[in-house]
């Protein structure tokens, strides 16, 4: 049907998108905590073809995380309570970043802390670092409390943390939002006003599951974060709420397993997507998704991905 060679075909599609001052070659990124530090997936994925690699959440000091069991499968989803086990930002730079620098792909550092100052310090360390292209701030860690509510659930706290990190870095700043809130658009507006260059959503939905034979929670931590296809409709709804509220780019995350799923988010208005749990099921999921998006664009004669983004037609309806 298509007389053009494979090479021509690909060149016809423009998939580049911008997040703040950063330009990504395509909108397919990995989600933090689901792609390790990139090297775990190098045998399966051509890292050079990714829009960006978002690495596992980094804290100031190494963290050992929660006791096992840490994961449990649920219908079309999984719960995790890893508890942000990581080697710490300095070790990451020393031992993991050199590998990623070999690739021509943006590296986004996902960061978190237990206090505002910890966040600030992690950002400070990353700021001067070669090979870090942006920072994604995880303000939805369920272990970080502030007046009983995590940073991400309170607009003021979310804004404060954003301001502190903003003052520390010129890197594009993405704030990652939690879905466990009444009005996610309000949080998005608050971090936008505080200087975020983009928001990404959603992080996991808090969930729980019980072993009825032993009458104990399946996870040692009792509750965990729900991810995977089960939460996709929730994530998509929240993306839709947020794209209509803020002006900064929105990165869609949640249960994206296929190109079709990714396209739902892009059409709804997400500028890019992050692929999480799908990597566990099919290690090359990101590549399949990227190829599928291109095929869709060819089939629908869409030259630039930006024409597709936000092209959802809701007619006259749509009271959320």
């Amino acid at each position: 049907m298509n007389p053009k060679s494979e090479e021509d075909r690909i060149e016809l599609q423009d998939l580049t998108i911008a997040i703040g001052s950063m330009t990504l070659k395509n909108p397919v990124m990995t989600a933090s905590g689901t792609f390790g530090y990139g090297e775990e997936y190098a045998p399966f994925v051509d890292l050079n073809r990714l829009g960006a690699v978002v690495v596992k959440g980094l804290s100031l000091e190494p963290r050992s995380g929660n006791p096992p069991p840490r994961i449990m499968e649920t219908p079309s989803g999984m719960l995790n309570a890893v508890g942000l086990q990581n080697i710490g930002v300095r070790d990451f730079i020393a031992r993991k970043l050199p590998f990623l620098r070999r690739y021509d792909t943006a590296v986004i550092a996902n960061i978190f802390g237990e206090t505002v100052d910890e966040y600030r310090q992690v950002a400070e360390i990353l700021n001067g670092t070669e090979g870090i292209h942006a920072i994604e701030v995880n303000i939805s860690c369920p272990n970080v409390k502030r007046g009983g509510i995590s940073f991400g659930a309170c607009p003021d706290a979310a804004a404060e943390i954003t301001r502190h990190i903003r003052s520390e870095t010129d890197l594009p700043l993405i704030v990652k939002l939690t879905p466990n809130v009444t009005d996610i658009a309000q949080i998005a507006l608050a971090v936008e006003a505080a200087g975020a260059d983009a928001v990404s959503l959603i992080n996991t939905v808090t969930g729980m599951s019980v072993d009825i034979e032993r009458r104990r929670p399946h996870l040692a931590n009792v509750t965990g974060g729900l991810s995977g296809p089960a939460i996709r409709p929730i994530a998509l709804r929240m993306v839709w709420q947020v794209v209509r509220a803020v002006k900064v780019p929105v990165i869609g995350i949640g249960g994206i397993m296929t190109a079709s799923d990714a396209l739902e988010f892009l059409i709804t208005g997400a500028r890019a997507v992050e692929i999480g749990t799908a990597n566990f099921i099919q290690p090359a999921a990101t590549m399949e998704i990227l190829d599928g998006i291109k095929d869709y664009m060819i089939r629908h004669k869409i030259g630039k991905i930006t024409e597709l983004i936000g092209s959802l037609d809701t007619g006259t309806q749509g009271n959320c």
């Binding site: 079309s76 040692a220 290690p283």
Partner: protein, 286 residues
């Protein structure tokens, strides 16, 4: 970078009940499927299915490479939803496979006495190990391997046909329906004094209760013991940090390591398995 790994589609050639709660699946794979080392495992899913979401880790039970294909054998117990659905698959059905994964057993130099301690389907990686590495052990450097194999009852003792002649077989059942009446670790306990710690190594795999009593038994015994540990897994690749087990790290500090990457085979004296996975099993069951 690790050894090159692959996600491949395999076609089921046979999927047969071998005990009331155990099945053996034979999968035809492309010839490029990397040769597994004993103790390594694969992540298995039904191809083209959305649910169950996660792949299940299963040890390599047997592997043969041919010119134009490879044959992988898996031995699995019906533990829950995932494995029950596996058991319903038919020849011709497709599975998606990632592997081989993890760090297998290490064969120390100059040993003359090899003990295998298996509970239930824990026999799978040990039989592969025996067949792959110790077929000629007896003639080459010492005594015939001894294989302690336990199960709840005689009908659950699987793999005997593969062990025949390759080792001294010591069977144990919880109900005494065959061999020693009691847990496999109890029989080992009564015989452990007979083995010279300097020339002996133990390879073990079985349910957590078995591993825990093996740990107690060998606490003050210098015989080295490598054990294959189980934890729930999501990725199998070291990325999700879901499958950790506690080990006594350097300076006896407790730390969490990934069963899928740093394991599944650990030094029994270092590993602190979680008692919360698979606690329904008797010691002999897996």
């Amino acid at each position: 970078m690790n050894e090159i790994q692959s996600m491949m589609t395999g076609v089921i050639r046979e999927n047969r009940k071998v005990a009331s709660d155990q099945f053996m699946m034979t999968v035809i794979l492309p010839p490029s499927f990397p040769i597994p080392a004993p103790g390594q495992f694969v992540m298995v899913r039904e191809a083209n299915r959305g649910e169950p979401l996660l792949a299940r880790p299963l040890s390599v039970y047997g592997f043969q490479k041919q010119d134009d294909h490879a044959v992988l054998e898996l031995l699995y117990r019906l533990a829950g939803r995932g494995t029950i659905l596996f058991s319903k698959m038919k020849p011709g059905d497709e599975v998606a496979l990632i592997g081989p994964l993890g760090k297998g057993f290490t064969i120390p130099e100059g040993l003359t006495r090899v003990l295998f301690i298996a509970g239930g389907v824990g026999v799978a990686p040990l039989i592969f190990l025996l067949q792959d590495r110790f077929l000629t052990a007896e003639t080459e450097k010492g005594k015939k391997p001894i294989f302690y194999l336990g199960a709840r009852n005689v009908n659950l003792l699987v793999g005997l046909e593969r062990l025949n002649g390759l080792c001294d077989l010591k069977l144990c059942t919880d109900d005494g329906s065959q061999g020693y009446h009691g847990p496999v670790t109890e029989l080992l306990k009564s015989e452990i004094e007979g083995y010279d710690p300097k020339e002996t190594v133990i390879f073990a795999c079985g349910p957590t209760p078995m591993i825990l009593s093996l740990g107690r038994l060998l606490k003050d015994n210098p015989i080295p013991c490598q054990v294959s540990i189980e934890e729930r897994m999501a990725c199998g690749l070291g990325a999700c940090l879901g499958c950790v087990v506690a080990i006594r790290g350097p300076g006896r500090k407790r730390e969490y390591v990934r069963v899928c990457l740093e394991g599944p085979v650990f030094d029994l004296k270092e590993v602190l398995p979680t008692s919360s996975v698979d606690m329904q099993g008797s010691e002999n069951e897996s």
